[in-house]
Symmetry: C2
Subunit: 185 residues, 2 copies
């Protein structure tokens, strides 16, 4: 139901209805919709818990803590498989892209944004997501040798300042673009 | 032939043989294998030329110049379509991933690496690629609202220092990872 309707429209009520059970039962066994989503997709960790842990330590060092937590899951092939499956679905179907977009936006990015300074918080969270998605692609999907073979500790050291820049750095003033760039989505 | 054999094994000789023409004819019309690849996949720009232009201005500001060049192509839906098709193929088939990996590694990352300081140059180039791939995914495929709706000039301002950090910044000393992270590819 998440993959055909998208994350938002797949309500716990609708899911319980399709399973012919009481919505309270779904809540009892799975908790929030975010936790149900994580269970349905076999996530090796609960995104809510992970973000909570990363942000609980304050904004200083949150970039490195996020990378440590994510790599701890990704470095195990079985644990990263669900993430790769979602990326695959998102790149090959609009419904898959909508599911990932809505889940990330509602449950991951807004949660990070709330914990950040109000200055362009959602853009900051989305920029962090772009770097994490790119690392996942480059190390595990495309397997660029320099990234696929590098020790995790070396990657974390190189990337942590960049994630931190997105979280709490000065994002600067928009630059003037010289060509007439009009988004055509 | 690129997508079934991969970039490396699809030699100009093999391609010419399959087309029953002299390899010199392929060279005459398309130049290098990299340019033939760009033509076969309908790239809106020649990666060789783009990298040459970005790096010709020296390392200072190369991060922002790269982002400007890439967004100039991506912001046009027709121009970014080939890139998205390659990403799709790479996420859904091993042969597609190999094609993209070999092309990026031989023609893009090594070229950037040669122009950089020898200090971990290929890792730097791969980290740049990870951020660019992540931006492509987040803005155009998953369409995270905060990134999909942001003006290009705002994104370039926020991301340029990070690309520049990968190109010429201090990548730091590897951090110690506390869990036993063994790559299982």
């Amino acid at each position: 139901m998440f993959s055909t309707r998208g994350y938002d429209a797949a309500t716990i009520r609708a899911i319980a209805g399709a399973a012919d059970v009481d919505p309270a039962l779904v809540h009892h066994y799975f908790g929030t919709k975010s936790k149900l989503f994580a269970a349905a997709l076999d996530f090796p960790f609960d995104p809510e818990d992970l973000i909570g842990r990363v942000l609980a330590g304050g904004i200083d060092g949150a970039g490195e803590r996020l990378l440590r937590s994510v790599f701890a899951a990704w470095e195990n092939a079985a644990s990263r498989a669900p993430m790769l499956a979602i990326i695959r679905t998102a790149t090959t179907s609009d419904a898959g892209a909508a599911m990932l977009r809505e889940f990330l936006d509602r449950n991951v990015l807004q949660r990070i944004a709330v914990a950040l300074a109000p200055d362009r918080a959602r853009l900051r969270a989305a920029l962090v997501a772009s770097q994490m998605a790119g690392l996942l692609m480059a190390r595990y999907v495309i397997s660029l040798p320099a990234l696929a073979n590098a020790p995790v500790g070396e990657i974390i050291a190189a990337v942590a300042p960049n994630v931190q820049h997105y979280l709490s750095g000065d994002l600067g003033q928009p630059v003037t673009v010289d060509v007439n760039l009009t988004p055509s989505h």
